[in-house]
Symmetry: C2
Subunit: 424 residues, 2 copies
């Protein structure tokens, strides 16, 4: 059977039409559609695994790395956890219709500021096929139509998942066009998608720097970039050093490859000779290489041996996403703040201190999405923050900062009611 492939423009226009219906769809219908998607994923497991096997074969033939192959791979357990995530999103509170603010004006007009869906959200992502369903569930729950554009590596898996989700959604009463996937992972499709100003309200890229740069060059649709996380842990003079070590190890090691992992350790000079050797020993034992400034290097080298290297200027700005940590000694809280302002990416920053004044100065002075006192940077996450789930993490200041959850996928409108009011 010959199936006409819709153009990107047509897909987006259909999504726009669907979005007008979705914006008015009751919570119960949306939740039932999400449950239908979860069930369809379970029921059509063989179809998903077959499609995934085709991607895996192609990936092996193209000799992509084992790490990428693992990210690409689906099995029964992974599909079940994708379905479970959909059910968790269904169980969240509906952000649409929430009254954010409201008052009666002196002239008697009633004004309500009410949350409404953005409309059409495009999500552009790389290898992991689970994003197809996660992103679709978040967008549908928040009343948005979604246009997905995955990578060619996962084309068959994404196609199967998106088709199953779209069919289940329509079967449960959502409009045609609520979920769609742009066929073809090429840069032309990306450019076409990124310029549909009439029909796409927001693009969220989930992927590496090259994807972001490609988007930045062409996008006329608004984009929320989930930029990189160059996160710092600052151990203050008044830190509980045991707490500091636990927080540092957690922030660096619990999952080094993600954006809220620590990349630089800053240590107050007053406790450097006590803390740096202990930290260096624990980190080097865990396989972490330290890139340390002169003073830190002198303190770290006896414990860390070859795993203590001198830091260069570029180390302060590097997001290693792996077993490397930059280390610097600072003379004060202010110097720590100064360092973070200069090199940080505005993601997640932590101070470890028992000094209330130092904690307050750090929280006021550091300009980042999340500023921690005596806690690991690893908590920056929609799930951890009680937002239920997230579609990414924003390091920009407009619209969404930090986890992008259901509310951040919405805008608002003012509803104003009178009885013949005219302006004097």
């Amino acid at each position: 059977m010959a199936v006409a492939v819709k153009s990107v423009e047509q897909i987006c226009r259909d999504a726009r039409r669907a979005s007008r219906v979705l914006a008015r769809t009751p919570t119960g219908v949306k939740d039932a559609a999400l449950e239908a998607i979860a069930r369809a994923l379970e029921a059509r497991l063989p179809e998903i695994l077959e499609a995934n096997e085709r991607d895996m074969e192609a990936g092996r033939a193209a000799e992509i790395s084992d790490a990428l192959l693992d990210r690409l791979r689906l099995d029964e357990e992974r599909v079940e956890s994708i379905a479970a995530a959909v059910r968790q999103i269904a169980a969240l509170a509906d952000p649409v219709g929430e009254v954010i603010d409201g008052r009666r004006l002196p002239n008697g007009l009633d004004v309500r500021k009410v949350r409404v869906p953005l409309g059409v959200v495009a999500v552009v992502y790389e290898a992991r096929p689970n994003v197809t369903i996660d992103a679709a569930a978040l967008c549908l729950k928040s009343g948005n139509a979604i246009v997905l554009r995955g990578s060619s590596t996962a084309a068959a898996s994404n196609d199967a998942l998106a088709r199953i989700a779209a069919e289940a959604a329509v079967g449960a009463g959502l409009p045609e066009g609520a979920v769609s996937l742009v066929a073809g992972g090429g840069r032309e499709e990306l450019a076409e998608l990124a310029t549909q100003r009439e029909s796409v309200d927001l693009i969220i890229p989930r992927g590496g720097e090259s994807l972001k740069e490609a988007l930045q060059a062409v996008a006329t649709v608004p984009v929320i970039y989930a930029a990189s996380g160059n996160c710092h842990v600052f151990v203050d003079a008044a830190a509980d050093l045991e707490q500091a070590l636990a927080i540092l190890l957690n922030a660096k090691l619990q999952r080094p490859g993600v954006c809220n992992a620590a990349e630089t350790l800053l240590v107050h000079e007053a406790i450097a000779d006590r803390f740096v050797p202990v930290a260096a020993e624990a980190l080097s034992e865990a396989g972490v290489t330290l890139r340390a400034d002169d003073r830190a290097h002198a303190l770290a080298a006896p414990a860390a041996g070859e795993r203590a290297e001198p830091a260069g200027e570029h180390d302060w700005a590097t997001e290693y996403l792996g077993p490397t940590l930059a280390v610097a000694i600072v003379a004060s809280v202010d110097e720590a703040i100064e360092h973070i302002q200069r090199y940080g990416s505005g993601h997640s920053e932590a101070i470890v201190t028992l000094d209330a004044a130092a904690a307050r100065a750090f929280q006021l002075g550091v300009d980042a999405a999340c500023v921690y006192v005596n806690a690991s940077t690893r908590f920056t996450d929609g799930g951890e923050f009680g937002m239920g789930a997230e579609i990414g993490n924003s390091t920009q200041k407009l619209h969404a900062r930090g986890p992008i959850g259901l509310r951040e996928l919405c805008t608002f409108k003012y509803l104003v009611e009178g009885d013949g009011h005219v302006r004097a």
Copy 2:
């Protein structure tokens, strides 16, 4: 005395430095600085008028229009009203530090979502010199440094006003660089300003479409466009026709040249033969020309005579900003919504009806910043909405929609406090 002119980049970098201090400046100090600015404007009136007279002379020599000359002109009364506006902004609640949301997480971490300044806001504007002070006062109150870029027509006036404001601000304890003006109103300065991603957080253009297009072509800094307002008044079958007429005349005539004035009248066919002739008579008497579809034209022509013209397709999409109104007959609320979705600019839309179901359908179905029931579109205004003042009106959906007041000049950050919390 030779004064070195700072480059745009240097001005923005200095503003960034000032913004770090401003973000932590207490409300009392900011309010005192605003009062000092208001007083300085009054005390240095002769200097302002002298500078303004130079712009007026140049304007007359360049034969700019009387309307533009009037917008450019300052006199004692106008300067006093500018000073009064500054005092009104000082009296508003400080948005900085407001806790927007917060909770204790199940693991015991305390999370607060707290409003903080954006940092550096650039305002690009055209002839009216009062914007120099209005925008500066709103930015300072919300803890932002401001970089102003006015038009060359008002160069001397803007320079005097910005200098007076900057000197008064610094004299009252605000940092150097909190208020600055980019010298030169050329397109190169605009392009340079619009690409200072490192030091400018937001650009707000206040001006016509050509300014917006110029920005769209070059800006890499985020921009909030205050797009045009193609606003509709829909008179439903169940409207109180007296109310409808009053609202229509107010929306069209109270101030036709602004973005929240009505540009199209939609009339339900069930009451068209009663409403259109009455409306046509009142509007034509007020000097308004109607561009009407066939049915509306037949009903309007007897009363409006030559002021009833046939509408073309382009009329539905036109923001006249003057004494012209497009008129169409629709068969239902849904058809009215459909028309507005197709041609509207998402600014302000009104339905006049006593039917609760029609009102609800209109408010749910129309995707615009402000949706009115039985009230004039002219109320879309930060002052009217109780936000105190506004720096513009946004028709985009991200970050700010509708009036851009003090809160919209802010972002937020999450402050998270624990006692050694690590992620499991």
